[in-house]
């Protein structure tokens, strides 16, 4: 079977990216939305890795970037979860549609 090339990977990342998008737009559950964002970030990671491997093998920027992205994602998730919990306390639900008082 053929060795997967850059385009395969880019395709996967693009797919992930838009799946994430779709998830973010459609899911009601805040945690799920958070997870879809993680998907987006992961698509980005794949991008970086792929570019790094195929296009600029001698520049490690992509790799480092990925590491940092993962770390940041974790931090972001932590804070986000905390906020969601707080929201659950106040609203008694983590349905995004329950939290629409601020508008117009």
């Amino acid at each position: 079977m053929p060795e997967p090339g850059l385009y395969h990977l880019l395709f996967i990342s693009a797919a992930l990216f838009f799946i994430g998008m779709f998830g973010f737009f459609t899911r009601r559950n805040l945690v799920t939305m958070l997870m879809s964002i993680e998907l987006i970030l992961n698509s980005v990671n794949i991008n970086f890795i792929a570019f790094n491997k195929y296009l600029w093998p001698n520049k490690m920027d992509g790799l480092f970037f990925v590491i940092f992205v993962i770390a940041i994602a974790a931090a972001e998730a932590a804070v986000a979860i905390a906020i969601i919990i707080n929201l659950y306390r106040s609203h008694g639900s983590i349905d995004v549609e329950k939290a629409e008082e601020l508008k117009y």
Binding site: F24, F25, M33, V96, E100, E101, Y104
Partner: protein, 643 residues
């Protein structure tokens, strides 16, 4: 050269009176105001007489020609090179003559008012206004600059406005003064534009220069003025006609006369001063002042003649039907001014042709005397009877002997019965007319007959006819202060005619022999006497002939009685057209359209902001969606559309 200060003082003293009384009169000398004003005017009258003497017999004449002297002038407001308003003094026969007339009549009125206006709350104000008027009128007659004349012209207008509206709490008086001011103002618009036209071509506003430039056919200015034409009429004619409109307005010529009868709402002495002797002849004076220029344009002169004649006749006819004695006098004034106007209109420049000019000025002079006299007499009557209406009067000759005599003299004078003043002046006018234009002559003849008729109708119905039933207390003829002017003016009315007027005032300054043909003057005199007898037959004894006549020619009588419905016409024009067709739409447009646009923009903004609020839906997912769409949209725009 005459003494400048002494001349300048003639108008300035009344001005002093005005300022003094106007500012402090009410507080400090409400009683003594009359005497202050009268005294000041006495002085300036003396000065005027002195100036006149000096001018006519000493300095005025240079080898047989009366000069136009400008002893003094200074630039008051310069518009551009050469075109500037100068304040100056100009002495020539007519201005000097006017000085005399104005000061004398004004003095008479001042004296008369001492008694007539006694006890008025605003006594001081009254004299202040009189002072203002006298000042403006004197300033007008000695103007050396056409714009200076316009300035005083306006001032005269406003002071007449003030004096007509003296009884400001009488609605009729308020209406009258507004009417007077606005109508004359409208005419002044013509005057103003006329000035603009003339000055534009003459490149000057100074009378002497202007006349000189526009009368010498060689000069470029004249060529330009005659060369340029608008709808087939030369600019010169336009200018003159426009100026004449101004004059017609002040002199209550047809069709701008409507303010004059109403102006009788003012105190009677004021009517005597302003609306009989002085201000209303300003128009005549204006034309006379510019006469050399007028004589360069036949059409302009035709206009003057036509307007003059028609006004004379028209006013005479109306006067026959009026019952308010002051209105009768007002219309007769209008008629007499008509005489002066057409006299100028038919006159030529210089020598024998100039007879009309001289005659007109002469008539102006005599008319001032007897018309003032008539008004003051009427004033005495009104003072006595507390009414203006003929029907309240009758048989007053035994109650008011002096008034009666002087009034009679005045009537005779105005009817042109020799040897009274009116006879001579009117005679000359008719003579000029006869030589120049027969049609005018016949109309004038008829008019003078009518004049005699309505004057004596007035006379008889006041002093003869049925016995007026007198009620309330009656305090004599108003004492010395009122009688003195009557007597003096009566003397004037008798003697003024014997002045060899042509020697002093003539179109070209050279002396003009007034030659007297008794055979010519038969017709006018007869006509006059006829009119008098008719009046006597109708009105001397109380009877019902007049009523019958009026009834017999009802329609015509009504038309005339309603002054040919001129007022109604004007009301129609102002109310219906100006207000409803222009004013109201303008106001509406402003309120709704101009304003509306402004408010509309505001409201639409509000509306839009209301409409688009939905995008701020509060759904975080939608926000993200818009986010993405924004990216895609912008990217698409810049990749495909806006490279």
């Amino acid at each position: 050269m005459p003494h400048v200060i002494s001349i300048a003082l003639i108008p300035l003293l009344p001005l002093v009176g005005f300022i003094l009384l106007g500012l402090f009169g009410r507080k400090y000398f409400n009683k003594s105001a009359g005497f202050i004003g009268t005294f000041l005017l006495l002085v300036s009258t003396a000065l005027a007489l002195y100036t006149a003497y000096q001018y006519f017999f000493d300095i005025g004449k240079v080898n047989g020609i009366y000069q136009k002297l400008v002893p003094f002038k200074f630039t008051w407001l310069e518009f551009s090179k050469g075109v500037s308003i100068d304040m100056g003094i100009m002495l020539d026969p007519i201005s000097v003559m006017m000085l005399v007339v104005v000061t004398i009549v004004s003095l008479m009125v001042h004296i008369y008012s001492l008694a007539y206006m006694k006890g008025e709350a605003r006594f001081a104000t009254y004299y202040a206004f009189l002072g203002l008027f006298t000042f403006s009128m004197l300033g007008l007659v000695i103007s050396s600059n056409i714009f200076q004349m316009y300035i005083f012209w306006e001032l005269v207008g406003v002071s007449s406005f003030l004096l007509i509206g003296y009884y400001y709490d009488k609605p009729s008086a308020v209406a009258a003064c507004k009417k007077a001011f606005i109508v004359t103002r409208f005419a002044d618009l013509g005057f103003l534009i006329g000035i603009l036209v003339l000055s534009f071509y003459a490149h000057t506003l100074d009378f002497n220069t202007l006349i000189e430039r526009l009368t010498s056919p060689a000069s470029n200015e004249f060529k330009a003025a005659v060369g340029a034409s608008f709808i087939g009429i030369t600019a010169l004619t336009w200018g003159l006609v426009l100026v004449f409109i101004g004059g017609a307005g002040k002199s209550a010529m047809l069709p701008l006369h409507i303010w004059l009868p109403d102006a009788m709402e003012g105190p009677t002495p004021v009517s005597a001063l302003i609306h009989a002797a002085t201000m209303v002849v300003a128009g005549v004076f204006l034309v006379a002042r510019l006469f050399p220029v007028f004589s360069m344009s036949a059409p302009a002169l035709y206009v003057v003649t036509f307007v003059g004649v028609t006004s004379a006749l028209f006013a005479a006819i109306i006067a026959c039907t009026q019952t308010d004695i002051k209105r009768v006098l007002a219309y007769s004034t209008m008629s007499q001014i008509g005489f002066m106007m057409f006299a100028l209109g038919i006159s030529g420049l210089g020598g024998e042709n100039g007879l009309g000019y001289t005659a007109s000025m002469f008539h102006l002079f005599t008319h001032a005397m007897f018309k003032a006299l008539l008004f003051l007499g009427a004033g005495a009557v009104i003072h006595y009877i507390h009414s203006n209406e003929m029907k309240d009067m009758g048989g007053l000759r035994k109650y008011l002997p002096i008034t009666h005599i002087s009034f009679l003299i005045a009537c005779l004078a105005i009817s042109g019965v020799p040897p009274f003043a009116g006879f001579f002046s009117k005679e000359e006018i008719l003579l000029a007319a006869y030589h120049h234009n027969p049609a005018v002559y016949w109309i004038a003849l008829l008019t003078s007959g009518l004049t005699a008729f309505y004057m004596f109708r007035l006379y008889f119905s006041i002093f003869w006819g049925k016995q007026a039933h007198l009620h309330g207390e009656h305090h004599g003829e108003g004492g010395f202060a009122m009688m003195l002017p009557l007597l003096l003016l009566a003397v004037g009315a008798v003697l003024a005619g014997f002045i060899p007027f042509g020697h002093f005032v003539s179109s070209d300054g050279a002396a003009l022999e007034s030659h007297f043909h008794w055979q010519f003057s038969v017709a006018p005199v007869l006509i006059g006497l006829l009119g008098i007898f008719v009046a006597m037959w109708l009105y001397k004894k109380e009877n019902d002939k007049p009523a019958k006549m009026a009834a017999s020619l009802n329609g015509i009588y009504q038309t005339i009685y309603h002054k040919f419905y001129f007022d109604e016409l004007y009301i129609f024009i102002t109310k219906k057209i100006l207000f409803n067709l222009i004013g109201r739409p303008a106001a509406w447009f402003d309120k709704n359209v101009v304003d509306g646009v402004m408010n509309l923009t505001g409201n639409t903004t509000q509306l839009i902001s209301e409409k688009i609020k939905g995008y701020q839906s509060g759904k975080v997912q939608q926000y993200a969606l818009y986010f993405l769409l924004g990216i895609i949209g912008i990217a698409a725009l810049f990749i495909y559309v806006w490279k």
